[in-house]
């Protein structure tokens, strides 16, 4: 039971941490690209292309984390299985404390 609780916690916590780091990096990349465009508007198209590529590469790391999330979500029980497990766990606790 604790294993499943920790699993759910880990699955939920992985993606937001990746998103925090990725959004920081993407913000820095975009701001530097904008500074470059402001300094030299003729190079706007090339800078924009390089910025989009950089953003896509940073985004791909978040996507790897999303895949792990899907993988772990598949391992969590739901529906009838979950009810059975909670019932069995409660039964076990009653027996252990009562007996």
């Amino acid at each position: 039971m604790i294993y499943l609780a920790v699993l759910a916690f880990g699955a939920a916590l992985g993606l937001p941490i990746a998103v925090i780091a990725a959004s920081t990096a993407q913000g820095k990349a975009t701001s530097t690209a904008l500074e470059g465009i402001a300094r030299q508007p003729e190079a706007a198209a090339r800078i924009q292309t390089a910025m989009i590529i950089g953003l896509a590469l940073i985004e791909s790391l978040v996507i790897y984390s999303l895949l792990i999330f899907f993988l772990l979500m598949g391992k969590l029980p739901e529906g009838e299985d979950l009810k059975e497990m909670i019932r069995a766990d409660a039964q076990g606790r009653i027996e252990r404390s009562g007996g």
């Binding site: 791909s60 996507i63 895949l67 969590l76 979950l82």
Partner: protein, 299 residues
């Protein structure tokens, strides 16, 4: 003429959205029946989501179209063949009577696209590598059409499955290595793996090999993750829309903005895939010139 095309476009878009909603409503109903009957699966449940090309996979023998064993996109291969057929037809029809000064609209449009792709990838590959533009350009067009196929109701994106993207990634990296051997010869190709200080060679050699394998894997997983994630979000939003429909009898296509994002994301992922392939080719070409294109990325 413009008004008619505007009306046609809006009719087409609303049909697409409605059909998509009906399709998802059927799937959601089947899912709810299954879960109420005691199934305990998450999204990719007992019943796979077939597409309209499923009869093809039933008719054709198992050597050409294998039966799915637990795939999430069971109609992968008929959909891929469909895209190949569409691309072949498109390009054959547009280049039937090809002339140096284009007169037909098809040829002009095609020249626009191919010229744009050729300029873009030619800029990255440089003068020495311009002959490899067809290689990366084909990857770009193919992956673009594969990504967009999932947005059409009734079809599935083959790239939303790890099998397709792994095949694309591995063949891209193998192609890059074949190009490297052709350009540098076998000795020069092996010298690239050893790196600059020769006494560090035995350390760098396995590192570079693992790096190449990681390049193939990262190309595959990036493409797969993006397209599969978009598709999953579209399915979840459509289920939400169906819930709204059931609760309040008002049909709202909630998944529509996500499909627009799917257009953008599909294009971007195709671009990133082919651009990374061309950058990998550039790292293997002999560096003659200093053009100053700082688009090199070492993973």
């Amino acid at each position: 003429m413009k008004k008619v095309s505007c009306i046609l476009l809006s009719v087409l878009l609303s049909t697409v959205v409605m059909v998509n909603g009906v399709w998802a409503a059927e799937e959601a109903q089947e899912t709810s029946h299954d879960t109420s009957a005691g199934e305990s699966h998450s999204d990719s449940g007992e019943h796979p989501h077939y597409s309209w090309l499923h009869p093809l996979s039933k008719i054709l023998p198992n050597e050409i179209v294998p039966e799915p064993l637990g795939w999430e996109q069971p109609d992968l291969i008929p959909n891929t063949f469909f895209v190949i057929l569409i691309l072949a037809l498109l390009f054959i029809i547009a280049t039937r009577k090809i002339k140096p000064l284009p007169e037909s609209k098809g040829q002009t449009l095609l020249e626009l696209f191919v010229g744009g792709i050729s300029d873009f990838f030619g800029g990255i590959l440089g003068e020495h590598g311009k002959k490899y533009v067809p290689f990366v350009g084909s990857y770009f067009i193919f992956i673009l059409f594969l990504n967009y196929l999932g947005l059409i109701p009734g079809f599935q994106s083959p790239t939303a499955d790890l099998n397709t993207t792994l095949a694309l990634g591995v063949t891209a990296v193998i192609g890059v290595h074949i190009i490297a051997i052709k350009e540098n010869g076998l000795i020069g190709y092996l010298k690239h793996f050893i790196g600059e200080p020769v006494w560090l060679g035995p350390l760098m050699f396995p590192l570079h090999i693992v790096g190449e394998v990681a390049r193939a894997g990262s190309l595959a997983i990036r493409l797969f993750g993006n397209i599969y994630g978009e598709e999953t979000v579209i399915i979840s939003l459509t289920t939400l829309g169906v819930g709204i429909l059931v609760a309040s009898k008002v049909p709202i296509p909630v998944q529509f903005p996500m499909m627009l994002f799917g257009l953008f994301g599909g294009f971007l992922q195709a671009l990133v895939f082919s651009m990374l392939t061309s950058i990998y080719i550039v790292t293997f070409l002999p560096h003659h010139d200093e053009e100053g294109h700082g688009a090199e990325a070492h993973h």
